[in-house]
């Protein structure tokens, strides 16, 4: 047997391997080049959370469309809540996502709301038990600005074989937060005027914040184009406000549990803080409970 006959299969294997392993090695912040290169990998599932009419007008090839509103629903009069486990797990399965699928979230990135919709869905999928979830940096806006390929296909997926199971350590309830005031680092991710108590949303009962919380607005994670700021800026902000101890217990909250997903994502997924939970009920639930303490007009 000629040498090449023995070597060729090894070469083929060697060349083929990196493609598979790179798809599996999903960055948390996915750039458009990575997605263009790996989007067709069967281990990757691209989930576009824009409205169906926007999706139909053009999307990342291979993407499926599951609108944001399917991932975060109104429940018990609270906005942006996790669906019931049963429905969430079915949604994940129907989206063709297995526990080990590398999921890339794509959506608009025009406003802070758009930007944290991406991280909120990432949080939801991690909660649902999906191991690898990344967010497209700059969202579909960047994909489009970079003149990457577009598809207008129906964007359907075959349901996954198995169901995932919930990963509850990412979620904090009101009682958890109450028990941790003064003990864990509670991060208020709203804008400083909300933290300080000079502004509040109409559906939040009282102005102010959870006592002893610190302020790190999720709006400050992103550039004005909707991309993540450079890593050294994100790291410095996290260190400056949350501290450098990555094992510290951290709870993030906002008004409805949407904004807070921004710093949950950066702290937990990107910077490697190991114990970060999001309080899904957030101020909308907290401020409505007259027994839950709140402070305002100070920074400390």
């Amino acid at each position: 047997m000629k040498l090449w006959k023995r070597v060729l299969p090894i070469l083929v294997l060697a060349l083929a391997l990196p493609a598979v392993s790179s798809a599996l090695d999903l960055p948390k912040i996915v750039n458009t080049d990575w997605l263009e290169k790996n989007g067709a990998d069967p281990a990757v599932r691209i989930v576009d959370i824009r409205k169906p009419e926007e999706f139909k007008a053009g999307h990342v090839p291979g993407a499926i469309n599951v609108f944001y509103g399917a991932w975060a629903v109104k429940r018990n009069n609270l906005d942006n809540q996790l669906p019931e486990d049963e429905e969430l797990l079915e949604l994940v399965q129907d989206s063709g996502i297995e526990k080990t699928t590398a999921v890339v979230i794509v959506g608009k990135a025009d406003t802070t709301t758009d930007q944290v919709n991406l991280t909120r869905v990432a949080w939801t999928l991690r909660y649902a038990g999906v191991a690898k979830v990344g967010v497209l940096d700059g969202g579909f806006n960047k994909w489009s600005a970079d003149k990457k390929p577009m598809s207008t296909d129906a964007g359907k997926a075959a349901a996954a074989k198995g169901k995932t199971s919930p990963n509850r350590p990412y979620l904090a309830a009101k009682e958890d937060v109450l028990a941790k005031v003064g003990k864990a680092t509670i991060v208020d991710t709203r804008m400083p005027d909300f933290f300080f108590g000079v502004s509040k949303l109409p559906f939040v009962a009282r102005a102010g914040r959870i006592p002893q919380s610190v302020n790190l607005p999720s709006a400050w994670i992103f550039t004005k184009e909707g991309a993540f700021k450079p890593m050294e800026d994100l790291e410095a902000m996290a260190a400056g406000v949350v501290g450098k101890d990555k094992a510290a217990e951290v709870l993030v909250y906002c008004d409805t549990g949407r904004l807070a997903s921004g710093w949950w994502f950066v702290l937990s997924e990107v910077l490697g803080y190991g114990n970060v939970r999001m309080y899904d009920g957030s101020s909308q639930e907290w401020a409505a409970d007259a027994k839950a303490p709140m402070v305002k007009y100070t920074w400390k």
Binding site: E53, K56, V73, K74
Partner: protein, 304 residues
Amino acid sequence: MEKRPSGDPSLCGQCHDEIAANFRKSLHYTTTGLKSGVSPRFSKEEAGTFAGKVFPKACNSCHASCGDCHLKSPAIGGVSAGLLQRHRFVKRDEGKTCALCHGGRVYPEFTGEYGGTPDVHYQKGMICLDCHSKSESHGDGSVQASRQERKERPSCAKCHPPGKETSEKAKSAHAVHGTKLSCSACHSAGPYRNCYDCHLGKGAEARPGFILGRNPRDPKTVTTLRVIPTVRDTFASAGIRMEKYDALPNYWGTAPHNIKKRTDRTRSCESCHEEKELFLRKEVLLPGGSKANEGLIAVPKSLK
């Protein structure tokens, strides 16, 4: 400048002759449905006043032109969201066209923006024309007095034929309720929009609600009812006092566009048979409403 070049479909009809001919007879163009819906409340004389004074200025001012769906967003209250794709004709762009005229009720229910969850079909990427056929937009050449008379209408059973249930619970629930309840009675996710107190030219007030009761068009079945805001003095400013106001109820069967597979009602018998708040009851009837409303009351039996 001609502001609405396709206000008369004959322009577009020079090429699209069949569609234009159909469209002339369609409910989107004639808005006859609006007249049919309210006319039984009028005396003969009032019907004349309505047809002459109210209908052309109010109801019919809303009729769609070709361009309202294929070139630009329709103008609602004089405001339009502008061209769809510069000056290009567009086959369909429901979120900018259907959604504007049907944006008070169905569209925001469908997308979840009215509160609650998006309709399961929207979640799966379906939009208006995925269920509502082209012939609903353009008409089919026949003349109907209202959309109820159309043959080709969306139907749950067309895609979800009975008998394909996978769980025993679904099978038995469908077997027991199938002929008595509409699909939406159980599979609507939650509150939908109800409009109250319309006065001619002044608009109505809207509140979310969820109301189960007899379908006035098919009183054997119970379905989701929506308040239609015609009150006794809606047309008072036009001199119409609606002599036969009580001929029609204020609640009408509706398909709230927030379909969900699992709801409180699919999960528990008690949610209907014990906790009866969702049902139209005597004590919650609209004050001063039509006498026909009482006929829609249907409260389920207790299980015990």
